[in-house]
């Protein structure tokens, strides 16, 4: 493990990956960003930012996203991630 110094607010490959998984699943359910946003209590713009990987996804938020999209956490990490 490398002790990489990171600026805390930076998004990472993990956020981009999670965002892509999130978009796939949302589209599979036929939900709009707006509809998903309502479930999560955030704006569609925020959903867009998560999906694009331009905002960090907190672990607590990820849990809510999994519930809203009715998927297991594992499915959001289908490929093994090493960050």
């Amino acid at each position: 493990m490398k002790g990489l110094k990171k600026r805390p607010r930076m998004t990472t490959a993990v956020d981009i990956y999670i965002g892509a998984r999130m978009r796939d699943r949302r589209l599979a359910l036929g939900l709009t960003q707006e509809a998903l946003g309502q479930k999560l209590g955030v704006s569609y713009q925020q959903v867009q930012k998560y999906e694009n990987g331009s905002n960090r996804v907190s672990a607590a938020r990820l849990f809510e996203i999994c519930e809203a999209l009715d998927v297991s956490l594992a499915s959001m990490f289908e490929r093994k991630l090493r960050a």
């Binding site: 002790g3 672990a59 607590a60 990820l62 809510e64 956490l73 960050a83």
Partner: protein, 143 residues
């Protein structure tokens, strides 16, 4: 992003407080860290992640939100699957409800708890485990 945009954004951002989920993650983190053999100190874990031990402390207390990316790195450092942090959550959990701490977590955080768990599990047979449980029960009654 231009510097200007970033500054604007930072000004607009309201600080979201950590949820009871973050407390749950924190407890899972602490338990796992202390159960590693040998134990991993907050300082060592911090060094592996490039943060201070104070930051690890804040995560463990649930005082700071943990990002998914950070959780992935913590999981790797502690050699567990990310799923570990989401285990033992009540299924109907809603973000602001209190989480009842599982007995095992309480146990791991109690003084001498980890030592007792380790020794108990290393006992050679059920007879010995029974003796320990009987002793604990007797002491509890003696109050």
């Amino acid at each position: 992003l231009s510097k200007n945009k970033k500054a604007k954004r930072a000004a607009k951002r309201t600080v979201r407080s950590p949820t009871s989920l973050d407390r749950h993650f924190g407890e899972r983190l602490r338990v796992r860290r202390l159960m590693m053999v040998p134990k991993v100190s907050q300082k060592e874990l911090g060094e592996a992640l490039g943060v201070t031990f104070q930051q690890i402390q804040k995560y463990e207390l649930g005082a700071n939100r943990i990002s998914t990316a950070t959780l992935v790195r913590i999981a790797a450092a502690l050699k567990v699957d990310v799923q570990y942090f989401f285990d033992e959550l009540p299924t109907n959990l809603k973000k602001n409800k209190e989480i009842k701490t599982p007995a095992l977590v309480e146990m791991s955080l109690a003084t001498h708890g980890p030592r007792l768990i380790k020794a108990f599990l290393n006992l050679k047979n059920d007879k010995l485990r029974e003796a320990v449980a009987d002793l604990a029960t007797a002491l509890e009654r003696a109050g």
